[in-house]
């Protein structure tokens, strides 16, 4: 089993006629993802890799019963694309786009509270249920079917950890990259809840980084609600205070919260071991599953 995505998921790719959209639509289909439609205004009636393109997401839903969208739309238009997907009664929207203006995302965030659609991202690699389907840009070949759920704020760090797991023969139920932007849809708590409720997920990896308080909140949630064992990793232990590092989220304000130390302590207090290296995270998971 898995969370959020499996081989029944019917995907519409927003921006399928663009370079990235086209390439990754192809990659997703090669992996086995059921891409049923593309949506690009002004390109309705075309086909991309055999997939019909519609002018609006609503049409893709009406004509092809799409229930999930993956968004490869340039940042200036991506906020609008997310709104469109939220308005089309989808189950899930995955925004890959990096660099969406924060104020656009604040408005999206407001709309999210009014709809039933779940958003993953933006500025995220997407998610994958190994052997069934992937939504986004993750390199499918490093994943393996298994019983570990993974949630991460960072793309390539996810790959690093997954690689360590897969090399040891530990596969994944689903891996979710929630994205590193200041305002995102699904957060750690949401993902942990999904994995906790998934009978096939026997252990969870949670990769956080400095900045914000999401990891601290996740730790409190784990303490209260999560029985599945969780191993953690926090990137940015050596980041100097007051410096921004890449992700808008990755800033240490200099005060007590948001630092690697506060996050690691919070996780440890919730009974979550935090690895010093990605390999140590894999060690912990191995122990859990032993």
């Amino acid at each position: 089993m898995s969370v959020l995505v499996d081989d029944d998921t019917r995907v519409v790719v927003q921006g399928i006629t663009g370079g990235e959209g086209k390439f990754h639509a192809q990659q997703m289909m090669e992996y086995g993802t059921n891409v049923v439609a593309g949506a690009v205004p002004g390109k309705g009636g075309q086909e991309v890799e055999g997939v019909p393109v519609y002018d609006t997401v609503h049409e893709a839903v009406e004509e092809e019963n799409a229930d999930t969208s993956v968004i490869f739309v340039p940042p200036a238009f991506a906020g609008d694309a997310v709104f469109e997907s939220l308005d089309a009664d989808l189950d899930l929207a995955v925004a890959i786009t990096e660099g969406i203006p924060t104020q656009d995302m604040a408005r999206v965030n407001k709309r999210l509270s009014e709809t039933d659609t779940r958003l993953i991202g933006p500025n995220c690699p997407g998610l994958i249920t190994p052997g069934e389907a992937k939504l986004g840009i993750l390199p499918g070949n490093i994943f393996a079917e298994g019983n570990v759920g993974l949630v991460s704020r960072s793309g390539t760090l996810t790959y690093q950890v997954v690689d360590s797991l897969t090399n040891r023969g530990i596969g994944q139920t689903t891996a979710i990259g929630i994205g590193g932007d200041p305002i995102i849809g699904t957060d750690f708590v949401d993902a942990l809840e999904l994995f906790e409720d998934d009978p096939d997920t026997d252990a969870i990896v949670m990769c956080g980084e400095i900045g914000g308080e999401d990891e601290e909140e996740a730790a409190a949630f784990i303490d209260d609600y999560v029985d599945t064992p969780v191993a953690g990793f926090i990137a940015g232990r050596t980041a100097p205070p007051g410096k921004r590092m890449g992700h808008a989220g990755a800033i240490v304000s200099g005060s007590g919260t948001g630092t690697a130390e506060s996050k690691i302590n919070a996780l440890n207090d919730a009974g979550v071991p935090v690895g010093d290296t990605p390999e140590e995270v894999a060690d912990h998971i191995e122990e859990f599953l032993a």
């Binding site: 940042p75 604040a106 890449g246």
Partner: protein, 384 residues
């Protein structure tokens, strides 16, 4: 990431929107500063225009009463090195006679995912310290980004902060304008600290902070132009701007290049873990092509502190073959490789990358741990 306007730029933006600001003029030499002071009339403040906090304490702001003092102060400040930033311009500004200093600001509360307006009667000092030591001294009002700030919210924040009724209306109005600016101009932070209150109950923005969401600069052409002017920092940071890298300079000697902020930070952490000291954070981003990889190496080589370089790429959209090509290109131009480079490639097309890589020029490692350990080792050898 945020683009920071200089004080003089932010004040111009605020003044254009109708927020009262003191009379001021920018000057880039001593004579210009003195002429500006004469025109404005003494006393004036002479303020270094650099993007660092705590300018006052560091000697970057001087209050002067006459021409001699003005000349002396301008001479001292222009050309000084303020926390690593070279001062090449000063703002000469009317000195405001105040009875009280307030703080007003708008920022994005990322935890709530919505903007927040803040007002405090404890202005004129480091507001982060106030936030830590006396959090109740800052009134906070969250704004629904769909509606924008309702007038009652500005009033509520102002009254909650305990602002005196004699100026409550004016402060509300400044706060409303500030939110409007923040919203229209894609601000990440907009602050006035202090908002001075004069003896005849006028309010005036004595300092101005306006940081813009870089991701939104495409729709803020006016501000993007200011960015050119605002660009500052040391040589390496300017180079990073030019190459469009997420780059942070640090104190160590192991240069670090990778793709993806989380993975780069992890590489930094591992350098530390294995006893080394990171010289920088450099994220080439997703999907980097050969040229960009070469630029990254150029950047790190330019840093005199760097003794060894670790290149850690886990390919997703970034392809190992492109990375390898970029590394070869960058290194083949040297007769002698200036600093040892350790490369670890994984993910998309890593095998092709390995084949392409010229192993005469770099050390190849299979795992992240090994690569970092080797780079730390090299850096240590150089230091010995």
């Amino acid at each position: 990431m945020a683009m920071k306007l200089h004080e003089y730029q932010a004040k111009q933006v605020f003044a254009d929107a109708g927020i009262p600001t003191p009379a001021s003029e920018l000057a880039s030499d001593v004579d210009g500063a003195v002429a500006a002071a004469e025109e404005i009339g003494y006393p004036v403040a002479i303020k270094a225009q650099v993007q660092v906090g705590g300018r006052g304490k560091a000697g970057g702001i001087k209050l002067v009463e006459d021409e001699d003092e003005a000349r002396e102060a301008a001479d001292e400040i222009l050309g000084m090195d303020l926390k690593g930033y070279h001062v090449d311009r000063v703002l000469v500004e009317e000195a405001v006679d105040f009875t009280n200093e307030l703080y007003v600001g708008i920022t994005m509360d990322r935890g709530e995912g919505k903007p927040v307006a803040m007002v405090s009667t404890k202005g004129g000092v480091n507001i982060e310290e106030v936030a830590e030591e006396d959090p109740d001294a800052i009134a906070r009002e969250h704004i629904d980004p769909a509606f924008g700030m309702h007038p009652y919210q500005a009033r509520k924040a102002v009254y909650d902060a305990g602002v005196d009724q004699s100026i409550a209306r004016d402060v509300s109005s400044v706060l409303t304008t500030l939110y409007q600016l923040w919203d229209d101009r894609d601000g990440s932070d907009a602050e006035i600290n202090p908002l001075m209150v004069t003896s005849d109950d006028e309010v005036i923005a004595a300092d101005a902070v306006m940081n813009i969401d870089e991701d939104a600069l495409f729709r803020q052409p006016e501000l993007a132009e200011m960015e050119e002017e605002a660009a500052g920092g040391d040589e390496l940071e300017q180079k990073a701007d030019e190459y469009d890298f997420d780059y942070v300079r640090l104190d160590g000697n192991v240069g670090i290049i990778g793709n993806g902020a989380g993975l780069v930070m992890t590489t930094l952490d591992l350098v530390d873990h294995y006893g080394g000291e990171p010289a920088n954070f450099l994220d080439v981003g997703g999907g980097a092509k050969a040229e960009r990889i070469a630029n990254a190496l150029d950047m790190v080589f330019s840093d005199d502190n760097v003794d060894s370089v670790v290149f850690n790429i886990f390919g997703g959209i970034t392809r190992g073959d492109e990375v390898a090509r970029g590394i070869n290109e960058a290194l083949e131009q040297f007769d002698e490789i200036p600093k040892p480079v350790v490369v670890r490639l994984a993910g998309t097309n890593w095998e092709e990358g390995m084949e392409i890589l010229n192993e005469d020029l770099v050390t190849v490692e299979q795992t992240l741990e090994d690569a970092v350990q080797r780079a730390v080792e090299y850096a240590g050898e150089v230091n010995e």
